[in-house]
């Protein structure tokens, strides 16, 4: 089966001041449709950079990035924006909801980029909020919700446009243990019942246990799993 995500010899370096910093070194990776991949590794290992490349937020210095049937490393900025709106749902560590909008309005934001009517948008928002168990909190603003509830709203926003891939950057990093479990149960359910492909960056081994595959990055290279376990 063709993988949803395919990275071929991907390298990424940044210029920090006058210094060239190599973040990823020739990474190869395939992620199958319906997989729930946990990407782990120490700080500075290149996890978030890899996630940004998969999500089309950044472009590699060299190599190829294929996601959802498109080679995105060579897309122009405008085309990449449109592509992201159609294929990627994002969940951030700090939720990143728009504070002036209600939960409903926050979830609706990605749908503003579609041609859906107002009625159809409302219906989709309702469904997404029901899916994350917050149907009764639609009129609340982010500051009226707990951290766990805000992250659920963020997940509803990520799901509402029915993206090919859900990309989560430390989704439990700002939550207490109980809320973190709730969020991980929700992501696992979305993966198992809705068949959503999820790529999650996490530090937390407990969160990684909910995934179907774990991968480790170290100093910009994927670590051989057998070697890692043996070590």
């Amino acid at each position: 089966m063709t993988p949803v995500v395919s990275l071929r010899n991907v390298a990424k370096s940044y210029l920090r001041g006058k210094q060239q910093v190599e973040v990823l070194h020739g990474v190869d990776l395939d992620i199958a449709r319906g997989e729930f991949l946990a990407l782990m590794g120490p700080s500075g290992s290149g996890k978030t950079t890899m996630l940004n490349l998969i999500a089309g937020l950044d472009q590699p210095t060299s190599g190829e990035v294929h996601v959802a049937g498109a080679r995105i490393d060579s897309l122009a900025r405008a085309a990449l924006s449109t592509w992201r709106s159609q294929h990627i749902g994002f969940v951030f560590q700090f939720y990143n909801l728009l504070p002036v909008l209600t939960a409903e309005a926050n979830v609706e934001v990605p749908l503003l980029l579609t041609n859906l009517s107002r009625g159809a948008r409302r219906k989709r928002v309702e469904t997404a909020l029901q899916l994350v168990g917050l149907a009764d909190r639609g009129k609340h603003k982010p500051n009226e919700l707990s951290g766990g509830q805000q992250q659920r709203v963020a997940i509803a926003r990520a799901l509402v446009a029915d993206p090919t891939l859900l990309v989560c950057d430390e989704p439990t990093g700002d939550l207490d243990r109980r809320s973190a479990e709730e969020i991980m149960n929700l992501l696992q359910a979305l993966n198992r019942t809705q068949g959503k492909t999820i790529v999650m960056v996490t530090h937390d081994p407990k969160a990684a246990e909910y995934s179907s595959r774990e991968l480790h990055l170290d100093k910009g290279r994927l670590v051989d799993e057998a070697a890692r376990r043996a070590a």
Partner: protein
């Protein structure tokens, strides 16, 4: 339209700051509306002044006056249709603060010179029959509740009577429609004969001769002829058209155009920085939110447009408020006392809208461009 909620929410992110900025814009455009409205009003009044009337005054100073005998000689100049005059009486009703624009005149030819000023013939007849008669403008009569048949005392600090009194009694014999005229225009007329006979001194002069001419194209020739006729006499004259006279009087106040443009320019220039600062702060505070929008698929162009529309909404709503207040002030009649039937010129509303749009674009473009150039990865990482 579907982005309205997003723009509106962004606009009111910091409610107090937006309200204060809006208030500044409202006040600036209220000032703009009032000053430009007045300026346009002056220009309109001057432009619309009658071109078939000439004003003859003493060459030295209007207050020096001209002999009453000049009227007949001016009437004989070829091309002259009718001649009347104004002799300044001034005066007040009951209290010195209630100034009355009263003038002694020869009423019948006056209404021939001012053909647009309508009066019933029987009132002119009554004026001829009644030496103490007075013809009063409708607005003035309404203000003091005067009606035909009333006998009213008018005080004066200049013209005492031969009996030594500073109060003159007048019988109102006619009321004419004066709604087209402002507060500076004479709307209280008394008979020249009555004035001349009863004034203790100086009652035999005219401060202005008003000359109705048959053909406006002959205005220059007739003016020159009148002035030539009295050249080298003890009372030389200066003859001007109605608009030249008005312009000369306005010039005494100063170059209104320059003053208005200087004030409005300074206010708008300051406002430009204020609005740009508000928008800059607003965009700067929202950097992570704008990065999220871009992450979700909003293109660079769309983010630029959203910020620009926000600046437009801020400026245009507030400017509309300021201009509406200025229009209310104009239409409330507050200026009618000065300019007569005067409303806010539409050209000022158009100019104000144009200025608001330019202000929004100039102040909104730098932050909008900054939002457009935002790098998602750096912005999300807080760099």
């Amino acid at each position: 339209m579907k982005y309205f909620g997003l723009i509106w929410a962004g606009l009111w992110r910091k409610r107090a700051r937006t309200l204060f900025t809006m208030a500044s814009i409202v006040v600036a455009f209220l000032l703009f509306g009032l000053l430009q409205g007045l300026n346009q009003g002056f220009n309109t009044v001057v432009t619309n002044l009658n071109v078939d009337r000439l004003y003859v005054s003493a060459k030295t100073n209007m207050t020096d006056g001209l002999p009453i005998s000049y009227g007949q000689r001016i009437r004989n100049v070829p091309g002259v249709r009718a001649v009347s005059h104004w002799t300044y009486f001034g005066g007040y009703y009951q209290n010195a603060r209630n100034a009355i624009p009263a003038f002694a005149t020869d009423p019948e030819p006056l209404f021939k010179v001012y053909r647009e000023m309508k009066i019933k013939p029987e009132y002119l007849e009554a004026m001829k029959r009644t030496r103490t008669g007075a013809l009063v403008g409708s607005e003035l009569a309404k203000k003091y509740g005067w009606k035909i048949g009333d006998r009213i005392p008018i005080g004066t600090s200049i013209w005492t009577t031969k009996q030594g009194s500073s109060t003159w009694m007048f019988d109102i014999v006619g009321i004419f429609d004066s709604t087209e005229y402002g507060g500076g225009f004479p709307v209280f007329y008394l008979n020249q004969e009555y004035f001349t006979e009863n004034a203790a001194f100086g009652g035999n002069v005219a401060h202005y001769y008003i000359v109705g001419i048959k053909d406006p194209h002959q205005a220059t020739r007739i003016s020159k002829e009148i002035d030539a006729m009295f050249a080298n006499s003890t009372n030389e004259t200066r003859t001007q058209t109605e608009s030249a006279l008005a312009q000369m009087q306005l010039k005494q106040i100063g170059d209104i155009n320059f003053i208005v443009n200087a004030i409005v320019g300074a206010v708008l220039f300051t406002l430009l920085f204020l609005t740009a600062n508000t928008m800059m702060q607003s965009v700067s505070e929202r950097t992570p939110e704008l990065a999220v929008l871009k992450t979700l698929g909003f293109s660079d162009g769309k983010v630029l447009t959203l910020v620009l529309i926000e600046a437009l909404a801020l400026c245009v709503f507030a400017a509309a408020g300021g201009l509406a207040l200025a229009t209310l002030f104009f239409n409330s009649g507050a200026l009618r006392q000065i300019f007569g039937n005067f409303t806010m010129p539409m050209v000022v509303i158009g100019m104000g809208t144009g200025v608001a749009l330019v202000l929004a674009i100039v102040s909104g473009l730098p932050p909008a461009w900054r939002a457009r150039q935002l790098n998602i990865v750096d912005a999300l990482a807080g760099r």
